[in-house]
């Protein structure tokens, strides 16, 4: 499969990168590891006139701690994030998410965490070759007026399958963005528009530079569980990330995010709230919480990842329960 033609830009400084982005705007795409973007370009889902490589922007790489938080450069490889002892011990959900992506010794070296967070939404009817999509009207995401995943819908129902985003959603992560109008830092969930056609709230002239994660308090832990058809390579068909903090065997804070069911990670405050103040052994509270996760998440899902909505919905509660069991056991 051949890529379409483009001009290759390799800025040596962030400032230059921003200049390019400002000049070329929407006809320019950022190239990190390329494991998402280049596939979509081969399928002619996007054909940017310019690719802006992050190759020489080493400042975007690295993991550093300080001021009660850990900061991960957006260009840090998935393998490096996963290998970080700090991440493994303090941010288990993130570690597990990194470990689950793609193929252990291959995507992880090229794929970047920033790229994982900024990946496009997916749909079996959309992520196909140009030939496959010919002979029928384009869908909303491809610039058309129809949706093949949900009949006659007036909007796009593509699915966001980023493991990293789901895990970081329960770790109170913020992302730092820089653009021609300056710097800003937003909570990770605000990065996502929930609009399938344009899933990110980034402006065309902006780059994600770092991810800021507060160091979790003592007595807390997190976990990430995902399901896929095979144990590697595949995108998740459903995933759940949880964070839980306890004090004297009582849950003080719980966070739940469900991935691969909607256009962005679903942050289920209400379901998580059902666990606050409950004993860690309160089985009824756990049943209620995970049951509500399933109900809430199923409303968003569409049959476009290769497994039925029914199955994925049921798995939300199974994975949520297992994630909590693991996180609670880890606190012990």
């Amino acid at each position: 499969m051949r890529l379409p033609r483009f001009e290759y830009l390799e800025p040596k400084k962030i400032g230059n990168a921003l200049d390019y982005l400002k000049t070329y705007g929407d006809s320019c795409r950022i190239l990190g590891g390329g494991t998402d973007l280049l596939v979509r370009m081969k399928q002619r889902l996007c054909q940017p006139a310019y690719l802006l490589s992050l190759k020489s922007l080493g400042v975007l790489e690295g993991i550093r701690q300080g001021n009660g938080e850990v900061v991960i450069g957006a260009r840090t490889s998935l393998a490096a994030v996963s290998a970080s002892p700090f991440v493994r011990e303090e941010l288990p959900a993130l570690h597990q998410a990194m470990e689950s992506i793609g193929a252990p010794s291959i995507q992880r070296h090229r794929g970047t965490i920033g790229g994982n967070l900024c990946q496009d939404t997916r749909c079996l009817f959309y992520n196909q070759s140009a030939f496959w999509r010919s002979g029928k009207a384009p869908c909303h995401k491809a610039g058309g007026q129809t949706c093949y995943a949900r009949q006659d819908s007036d909007r796009c129902h593509s699915t966001f399958q980023s493991d990293g985003a789901t895990a970081l959603s329960v770790l109170d992560a913020k992302v730092a963005i820089v653009g021609s109008k300056g710097k800003r830092k937003i909570p990770l969930p605000d990065l996502y528009s929930t609009v399938g056609e344009h899933p990110l709230t980034l402006e065309p002239d902006e780059i994600l530079t770092d991810i800021h994660i507060p160091i979790p308090q003592a007595g807390s832990s997190s976990a990430y569980k995902r399901l896929s058809f095979r144990s590697a390579v595949d995108y998740p068909i459903v995933s759940v990330a949880v964070f839980v903090r306890t004090e004297k065997a009582v849950i003080r804070e719980a966070r739940i995010a469900v991935g691969a069911m909607g256009r962005a990670p679903l942050i289920l405050l209400q379901a998580a709230g059902k666990l606050n103040g409950k004993s860690v052994t309160d089985a009824q509270a756990m049943d209620d919480a995970v049951g509500q996760c399933m109900d809430l998440a199923s409303a968003f899902a569409v049959d476009n990842v290769g497994a039925t909505v029914d199955y994925r919905s049921r798995m939300v509660s199974v994975l949520a329960r297992r994630a909590f069991e693991e996180a609670l056991a880890e606190i012990q």
Binding site: M1, R2, L3, P4, R5, F6, E7, Y8, E10, L31, G33, G34, T35, L38, V39, K42, L51, S53, K55, A79, G102, A103, P104, S105, I106, Q107, H109, R110, L124, F125, Q128, S129, F131, W132, S134, G135, K136, Y148, L227, F229, R230, S231, A232, V233, D234, Y235, G306, A307, T308, D310, Y311, R314, M315, V318
Partner: protein, 932 residues
Amino acid sequence: MKKVPLTLNVNSEKIELTVKPHRTLLEVLREQLDLTGAKEGCGEGVCGSCTVLMDDKPVRACLTLALEAADTRIVTVEGLAQGGKLDPVQDALIRNGAIQCGYCASGMVMAAKGFTLSGAEPEEDTIRKALSGNICRCTGYQKIVESVKEAAISPAGAETRPNLSMLHKTDKAGQFEIVGTRMPRVDTRAKVTGGAKFTADLAFPHMLTGKILRSPHAHARIVDIDTRAAENLPGVKAVLTGKDTSGRKWGVFRYTVDQQFLPTEKVRYFGEEVAAVAAVDEDTALEALGLIQVTYEELPAVFDPMAAMAPDAPLIHEDFPQNINIHVPINVGDVEKGFSESYYVREDTFTAAEESYFQAEPYAVVAKFDADGNLDIWCPNAGPHMKSKPLSNALGIPLHKVRVRKITIGGHFGGRSEIAPADYICALLARKAGRPVKIVYTREENTVSTRQGHSMITTIKTGVNKEGRVIARDITCYMDGGAYSSTGPIATSVPFLSMEQAYRMENVRYNGYRIYTNKPIRGMIRVHGRSFACGIDTQLDMIGAHLNIDPVTMRLRNAREVGDTTCTGSYVGSCAMKETIVKAAEKAGWDKKIDRLPPYHGIGIGCNSVQTGFPMGIRGGSQAFIKLNEDGGVTVVSGVVDNGQGNDNMLVQIAAQELGLLPEDIQLVTADTELTPSDPGAYSQVSTFVGGQAVQIAAQNAREKLFDIAADALEASKDDLVAKDRMIYVKGSPDKGIPLKKVVRMGLIQGRGVTGEGGYWPKTDPKREWVKNPYGQMCEAFSYGTTIVEVAVDPETGQVKVLDVTAAQDVGFAINPMVLEGQFQGSVAMGGQGGMLTEYHFWDDKGRVMNPTMLEYKVPLAVDMPNVNSIIVESIDPKGPYGAKEAGMSIAMSAAQAYSAAVSNAVGVYFDEYPITPDKILEAIHKKQNLT
């Protein structure tokens, strides 16, 4: 588009070149640097065949821009062996027989090298995980994992060209020195060093890139094709449409002539060939395709076989009413009487969606005419003579001018047997342009526009006596054949034939229907009919449950035995089916486990049989020639083709054995229609039985002549001579022999030059025909196999973990036990793990496959595959060479059956819809819980 300068460090060499920005590292390595080891198996970063090392870390070259590789150290497979010394990973892979077709090998080697460099603990788990991004379709990963572990633990490395005579051990106390041994394959070294050439690796001066324009509609009339803009695009050297052909239809059988290679009137499936171009490079060819204007008139399409048979269904082929392509009717004995005499009768229906071959190598063709109008053509095939005759007919040139050449082939599994439109199109483009043309399929084209497996609905009615012995069976099977016939009669018959071979059944009725639909073309596939095979076996379990008879006992009571005649009239000359059942059950611990496993654990058994050959008319036999050099080296000339299963090595073993030489003395010229005589090909499972036997006979013929000369020289009787260790001597006096090479020279001087020739034609019933007369001796031997699988099902998610697999097969005689183990392991991966748990195609409402890619069609990965215990059983077939018969297919089928039985046992529900995906398992569990 302007090229930019780029400096690369590849295999420690600094290389300066200019590249267009949109070139990937893979394209630059393969096309600009002639390093063709890294392959494009999928182009989207999933299969791993493009893996190279970048700064010691494995990366996907197909998803890395060439420009991104600047200022890094790139190592490709060609750069691994240092100063003639193989890397320990390469060496281990050779010694352990871990490589089959070799297409995934370069990537696998580099991923393994990355792993060993990382210093991670070489445990089986970590190795499997490290290799889970490299998809192998042939091996089931087991021997690869073993090899990587060995290499990581003891990285001693090895000299290249290991002395093969030191490596094989005699497994059968002195009976044979070469055959029967665990000899490393002769073709592996080239595959693990990136030297083996597959079709897409070939390059010739002035070669053009060909591309095919395909129909975006499942059923449409071609109103007009305007190619003018494409023809005028600079760089385009030839454009073809149906108008450039004779318009004649072709078919594998005289009564299935239904396909034009480039249609002139209508297209019948999404992805069908419509036009083609040859241009100076791929970018131009793609651009030219975009300029071809095709006007279609869409026609109503039908995608379901049952709907296709309805009276108001759109007719896909004029000559085939109700869209019924093939009907195989078999009726033996008295089925109704049998049912009336049965103690218990039941009828069940089993369905399976279609599966796909997913050979590691996407299809490709290279065609080239020389100045004398001779055509040289390379393409993956399962028998070059099956390609040359139709090409000769279609191109209107005699057979001796159509030369289908030997090439390394990246898997076949039944999907590359007959001529493909691409073969003809490529030759035509080459003729029109006057230059060599190469067409390389994308992964999607390989999935959609070559062949797929048939989806099937099988209804089986079986009557048994009180002991569970089958008295009567009535089977109806509807198969979705797709848009054209392909090998329809064979595909419609084999599912039934396998079961009538495996099990005794005297009163049988079978009606197999292959129905046309507007879907991609279906062909013969290694797992012939999941729903059929699993249906028969699952029903035996159901019957056994009703009669309170254990599944193993049910198999034993119905198993085929030697001396039987199958219901369609084939005498069974060798059969160790029962032995495979008993040995597999013993190894798997069946008695200790059945009905005693923890909840949601299950154990299941599957039995199957595969014919070693079928009637092939003029293509039924094989001939071979042997040429001897005056230094004792030998060239074997045979039509046998190697798709990765190890046939080349088999010929070397046989020739060396018969001539008393060593494997390194044997050179092969194989699978070349100019040089090698006709051979049946690999898809009827006769490469060893017929092709190997022809080589055996030719070698014996040469040996006879050598003995004539040596007998005179040694003043001994010819009957007292033996050939061994490169010597010819009187039995019992090895020190008083003559070197074989000396005998050759003596022959040349005496005017008694030694060459060998031989042929083998199996005695089958020449009147047997798939449809008109499906009775009579089908072939001379049948293989028999049993697989037992133990699984654990997660009752909350429906996911299946396979705990143990035992595969036992009666192979007649094991010419190479190590190669056989590889076949068993790969069979379990394809038929069982993939075939029953994850592999199937699903569709949109316009006949498009929703999952044509390596990402969305789930072929098993290293991390999910269990280890397989292999048991080789030898019944020593009276007709097979050394007693050998088919060994590469039976386990694929019995594995499917065993997986289905095991999951059914674990859940307590008999599954009748395949594959058995987690959602189906969960649904069955919930249904059962609601009822209890």
